[in-house]
Symmetry: C2
Subunit: 213 residues, 2 copies
Amino acid sequence: MKDSPGVFDLLGVLAYAELSAFARMTDDAAALAPSLADRAALSELAVAEYEHFRLLRDQLAELGADPERAMAPFVEPLDAWHAQTAPSDWLQALVKAYVGEGIAFDFYREAAKRLDPSIAKLVDVVSADEGRSQFAVERVRAALKADPAASGRLALWARRLVGEALSQGQRVAAARPELARMLVEGADDQAEISRMFARLTEEHGKRMAALGL
Amino acid sequence: MKDSPGVFDLLGVLAYAELSAFARMTDDAAALAPSLADRAALSELAVAEYEHFRLLRDQLAELGADPERAMAPFVEPLDAWHAQTAPSDWLQALVKAYVGEGIAFDFYREAAKRLDPSIAKLVDVVSADEGRSQFAVERVRAALKADPAASGRLALWARRLVGEALSQGQRVAAARPELARMLVEGADDQAEISRMFARLTEEHGKRMAALGL
């Protein structure tokens, strides 16, 4: 299973997700941060994404895959997600960093359940960084405290982030059936799939609550 | 001397130089790299710049300075340098990464000669990373081998990078006399200043030769 095309796809999509998140967060930090300290805080998160990319790329190479080839099918859908969700201000950038990272972690966790232990371990390492985006939560909550009217607009933004992610996810699943099969058929039965979606929805709901949205 | 305004200025300009180089290289890597491997190679360099930024910012904080305030006077001139030297293709991006980093290292080295040992040590740590940009040299040389006609255009580009850096440097020196005084009057005499400029010119010439320009 370690070297099945589904595993290469999984590591490939995660690697490019980290590499593209790194570039976009860095750009958002430079373009939208209201202060150099804020810029550094979001850049710090971006650099952590790059470090994850490095781990995933090296794991691909170790399994004998060509990292570039493994990432290639996912460049277009992930770039499309970023293009459709370019934040227009600092709060949108923070919500995107937090929600985007949350979606990625959910995906990691679900994948880890169905993977070879050596890869599951890598996923653990990456997931251990989750606390890093906590600063985004604090800044958003503080901003909402100062301006409660902003919450409707930001809640809408968070829904758009998830909606666009689902729509790109469906495209990817259709184009990469082995990846989809590994993630979904790896689940024991229909009830487990339902539980998986319930978990994803629950986690997203928790993140929205954490943001005060 | 450790906490003189000149030292805060020096650490501030270096910190913002690293933070802005990080953002620009990341952006150039995402926008201009011809392959994901090239994109990763330049991103790797960008992340090293961020790590230098972190060291410099922490050193400022340790000396009791406000890092944001120390960086603030240099945001505009460094952003102007980047705006005036936005690469329009991958080779220009590589030459900029290599030449830009070279200019920064020369500046670090000259500064280190005139600084408190604790700060000189920090400068050593940062300078130890110089080898990282070697990949840029290899790619540029390979490209020039395949297309020797590109060398005139790239040599012109390298001169523009240095010219714009000198022009921003003059603005900074005029606006921050303490910084200029520390770097220049720290030198023993006029002969030493001449030697400093000779060293800078020599180092830049070496880099051009390394690139095959």
